[in-house]
Amino acid sequence: MATMRYAEALNLALREEMARDDTIFVFGEDIATYGGVFKVTQGLAEQFGDRVRDTPISEQTLTAMAVTAAMTGSRPVLEIMYADFLPLSLDALVNQASIYHYIWNEQVTMPFVLRTQGGGGVGTGAQHAKSLDAMVAHIPGLKVVAPVTPADARFLLKAAIRDPHPVIFLEHKLLYNLRGEVDEADDAVGEIGRARVAREGRDVTILATSRMVLEAEKAAEELAGEGVSAEVIDLRSLRPLDLDAITASVAKTNHAVVVNEGWRFCGYTAELAATIMDHAFDDLDAPVERVAARDMPIPYAEPLEREVIPGAADIAAAARRALA
């Protein structure tokens, strides 16, 4: 057992997998010489040489190249520096990556990972603070994961790299320095599609993703002070969903709050709310409450940004509404 930062856990997973399988290569902007702007890939170039490449600023083509490199025997791990740039990758994801396994009648698999980080809270502005989870989660054929703990970061990145299909790996700029226990000796890989009960509770289920899990935990703490027992579920995998975990919790609590840092309208919380209605309508004593970013661009100034990005207070308020 070692305590390490989230970024270090990712780095460890990359090193372990690259050492194990030499068809893996890592590429992206500023990831080799500099080790990544969030230092996730630090030291990889020294260890793995040409298999770690700095690239020109060409997200659209880099994503398309990952697709076909993966179809022809390699396992690329591409870093897209900010989730705000995912729109540049979307054509390759929706019109290329997502189709071939089916359209070519299972002649190919496509083992690549697209790592990126999103989220706001630190004044990076309208073009560097978004969570566009819903856009990638909408695409069939892709898996989408978003670990919160360093241990999950390592396990899920290893799982993503070994997956035969494309995995979008969503990190968060405010998670990189989070510390946690990582059992380096444990050589297991995570299972994509399994949620984690971050906190057990009886009265209301809070489903959250990425950094919002931490906010949900804070909200649960606050609610506990009011005598409300909130269960916090860290989805970990945005697609596929762990339906069993969701329905089991809602069956117990009969109330649900769903939280995602992206925009509300047509956002990821809409799918969660609709999924709960699809599978647990009769268990619900109240409508599912959605907590998401306000439907507007993310402003720079701190007092404005704070109002747009959801946090613990919003989650607690939503839980109170659900229970009212």
């Binding site: 068809t23 060409s58 083509t61 190249m65 390699s74 071939y100 089916y102 009648n105 596929p240 699809d278």
Partner: protein, 328 residues
């Protein structure tokens, strides 16, 4: 067919594949008129020398990617005409079980890595494969076939820059047929001759006669060799012309008759035939053509008798979600 100078046999084989392709196109035209096709079909009549000459220059383990107009590449690469026709008609026996259709035929076994109906997408596709091969230290190459319209896309620029920067083993074969859909090249491109752009990436660029199958073969062969030697990418602009319009949905009216007539006179099959007759005699050439047409006829007959695929929800084997209970 990778020796520097193609043998008589090789030349005849290229000719056969061009005739095979032409006959496919003409049959598709008839089937469309008869209301028996589904979705648009993009014929490559008059451009057969590009796809056939280029694929003839490939080694067995090279890759090729092509466009929505890929029939000459499919057949040039040696795909089974029956399974190509079957795919075009959405049959279970098609290369993709009818899932792809004529624009999205892919066959991993021959390295024919697909038609692609997103304009320009064949360019980064081949570039990504080239990166994969380079990283594994393999002396193989990838060939990207794309159009003059596609040359104006952002991914063309990004791919060429990356390929030249990393000296990737890829050959960019620009099939310049003077139009992108209905828009003439002069209204799409700021320069008349696209090979000049190669200099912007520090790679060799040349313009060749795309209706001369041997010229295509020679240029692509040299560029593939260069790529496999680790000397990086090249751009080859093959000048040709699309005599039958953009697709079966084309209502025409924008390609001047005189322009079409001029290019019909330079039909790549006529040119190849003339050269071959000189070399091998009319009898052998005619026999080859007759056989090719018969092969395509047989392919149509067999493919059209093949069954349509049946839908099966895609659960176990695939990344796609199962159909949710009861609904779509």
């Amino acid at each position: 067919m990778t020796a520097n100078t193609p043998s008589d046999h090789d030349l005849l084989e290229m000719h056969r594949r061009m005739v095979l392709t032409r006959h496919l196109e003409e049959k598709l035209g008839e089937m469309h008129k008869a209301g028996r096709t589904r979705g648009p079909i993009h014929r490559c009549d008059g451009q057969e020398a590009v796809g056939v000459g280029a694929t003839a220059a490939m080694a067995a383990d090279d890759y090729v990617t092509t466009t929505h107009r890929g029939h000459a590449v499919y057949l040039g690469r040696g795909l089974d005409p029956r399974r190509v026709v079957a795919e075009i008609f959405g049959r279970e026996t098609g290369y993709c079980g009818g899932r792809g259709g004529h624009m999205l035929v892919g066959d991993v076994e021959t390295g024919m890595m697909g038609g692609n109906a997103i304009v320009g997408a064949s360019i980064p596709a081949a570039t990504g494969m080239a990166l994969s091969m380079q990283l594994r230290g393999e002396a193989r190459a990838a060939l990207a076939v794309f159009g003059d319209g596609a040359a104006q896309t952002g991914i063309c620029h990004e791919s060429m820059n990356i390929a030249a920067l990393w000296r990737l083993p890829v050959v960019f074969l620009l099939e310049h047929n003077a139009y992108g859909l209905t828009v003439h090249h002069s209204a799409q491109s700021s320069v008349p001759d696209l090979a000049v752009r190669a200099a912007g990436y520090g790679m060799p660029g040349e313009t060749i006669d795309g209706n001369d199958v041997l010229a295509v073969y020679g240029a692509v062969e040299a560029a593939l060799q260069r790529a496999r030697r680790g000397e990086g990418p090249s751009l080859i602009e093959a000048r040709t012309y699309r005599v039958e319009g953009f697709s079966t949905s084309d209502m025409g009216g924008y390609q001047p008759d005189a322009e079409i007539a001029e290019w019909r006179a330079r039909d790549p099959i006529l040119l190849a035939r003339a050269a071959l007759v000189d070399r091998l005699g009319a009898g052998r050439v005619e026999q080859c053509e007759t056989e090719a047409r018969a092969e395509m006829e047989a392919a149509f007959e067999a493919a059209l008798a093949d069954p349509m695929p049946a839908f099966a929800p895609h659960v176990a084997s695939a990344p796609y979600a199962a159909r949710p209970e009861g609904g779509r």
